[in-house]
Symmetry: C2
Subunit: 224 residues, 2 copies
DNA sequence: GTCTATAACCGGATAGAC
DNA sequence: GTCTATCCGGTTATAGAC
C-alpha cells in the first residue's frame, strides 16, 4: 500500500521533472542559454523556482541531461554497424548522426564544451561523475572497431578511446563554427577520418618505426 | 600646457589600472578566480567597485590582460632561436617557457580556456578582438620554422599556424592536469613533438601520397 | 521522506550623480 | 574618472504541505 503510493508519487515527480526539462529546452532554443532564466523556465513549466532547483541542481545540468539522453539514442548506430564494416564509414556515420541529433540545439551546446575545460567540473566529459556517459560513448567506438576494415594493425586497444576523443574534437569544431551550413565540418571530418584510417592501416609498416607503440604507451600513461 | 596635464592624468589613470590589476592577480592566486570577488579586488586596490569596472569591462578581462602581458615576454625565445636550429628543440623550448611563465598562476588559467570554447567570446583566442595577440603568438612559430632543421619538406606555410594550435593544446592539457608535477605534460610534449618533427621531415616521401597537400588545402579552407 | 513554494543571499554588472 | 545605489539572475535556506 505504501509502496503503491510511493510509486504514484514517483511517477508524478518524474512528470514534473520532464515538464521542467522540456520548458527549459524550448527556452534555450528560443533565447539561448544565457538569456533564458531559471525563473522563466520554472514559470513556463508552471512550477516555482525552488522546484526547478529541486530537480536540477544547476541550470547547466539541464543541458547535460539533454546530452545524456541524446547519446542514448544509438539503435540506428548498432543497426548500421551490422551492414557496414568499413572503418571510415562507421566513424563518419556515428559523428554525422550525432551532429544531426544535436543540430536543432546547436545554439546552447557550447555550455557543455565550456565545462569540459573547467577543472573539477562534474559536467566535464572527463569527470568522475560522467564516467557512465563516457564509457557508453567509448563502447560505441569499441563496436565500430570490432571486425572492421581495415583491421587496425596496432593500437587496437587504444583506438576506441582515441576515436572518442576525435569525436569530441569534431563536435567541438562544429559547435564553434558559426556558419549556417556544416560545410567546413564536413571537409574536416572527411579529410581527417581518411587520414585516421590510413594511419590505422599503415601503423604496422616499418617506416612508422615504433610510432604506434609509442602512441599506445603514451595513452596508457596519460589515462592514469 | 593642456597636454601636459592630460599626460599626467593618463599616467595616474594607468597607475590605478595597474593597482587594480595587481590586486586582482594576488586575489586570484590566493582564492582562485571564482572566490575572488570584484568587490574584494576593488577594496584591496583601494577603489570603488565601479572604478574597477571602468578599467576592466569584465572580471575575465583581467585574466586576458595577464595572458597578453605574459606572451609579450619573448626576449629569451628570440635569443634561443639564434643558438638552436633544431625544430623539436625550438618548439619544446617555447612551450616549456610558457608553462614556466604561467605556472604560478595555473590555478585560474582555465578561465581563458573556457572562453576559447564560447562562440563569440571576445576573449577567445580565435576571436576578432584577440587577433593581435594571436598574430604575435603565431609569429613566434614563424621564426621557429625559419631555417630550422629538419627543413619542412611541405606544409611550410601552414606549419606556424599548426604549431600555434599545438601549443594551445599542450597548454590546455597542462592547465587541466591537476597533478602537482608536470610529468604527464612532459611525456605528452616529448612524444608528440617528436612525432611532429618526424612528420614534417617525412612529409615529402612518396608513401605519404598527397597527405601534406591535403592537410594544407584543409587548413586553408578552414581558416576562412 | 518526498515535494513545493516563498523569501533571501550573493556577486557580476550597470546607471548615473558628482 | 570615481563613487554610490541598484539591477538582475543563479543559487540557497527554510518553512511547511502531502
Amino acid at each position: 500500500m505504501k509502496e503503491k503510493r510511493a510509486k504514484k508519487t514517483q511517477a508524478r515527480s518524474q512528470e514534473t521533472r520532464e515538464t521542467i526539462y522540456e520548458a527549459a529546452l524550448v527556452l534555450f532554443q528560443k533565447k539561448g542559454f544565457e538569456d533564458a532564466t531559471m525563473r522563466e523556465i520554472a514559470a513556463s513549466a508552471g512550477v516555482a523556482l525552488g522546484s526547478a532547483y529541486y530537480y536540477f541542481r544547476t541550470k547547466e545540468e539541464v543541458v547535460l541531461e539533454f546530452y545524456k539522453r541524446t547519446l542514448e539514442k544509438d539503435d540506428q548506430i548498432k543497426a548500421y554497424f551490422k551492414e557496414e564494416t568499413g572503418l571510415k564509414e562507421r566513424i563518419t556515420y556515428v559523428i554525422r548522426l550525432r551532429i544531426k541529433q544535436f543540430a536543432p540545439f546547436k545554439k546552447f551546446l557550447w555550455v557543455l564544451a565550456k565545462n569540459a575545460v573547467v577543472p573539477g567540473s562534474p559536467l566535464s566529459p572527463f569527470s568522475e561523475e560522467s564516467a557512465e556517459i563516457r564509457d557508453k560513448a567509448i563502447a560505441i567506438f569499441e563496436e565500430a572497431v570490432a571486425d572492421c576494415k581495415p583491421a587496425p594493425a596496432q593500437l587496437a586497444k587504444e583506438l576506441p578511446f582515441l576515436l572518442w576523443l576525435y569525436q569530441l574534437g569534431i563536435l567541438l569544431f562544429w559547435v564553434l563554427d558559426q556558419g549556417k551550413t556544416m560545410r567546413k565540418t564536413d571537409i574536416l571530418l572527411n579529410t581527417t577520418s581518411e587520414m585516421i584510417v590510413w594511419l590505422v592501416k599503415s601503423s604496422g609498416l616499418p617506416i612508422f618505426g615504433g610510432i604506434s607503440k609509442r602512441i599506445s604507451t603514451l595513452i596508457q600513461e596519460l589515462r592514469d
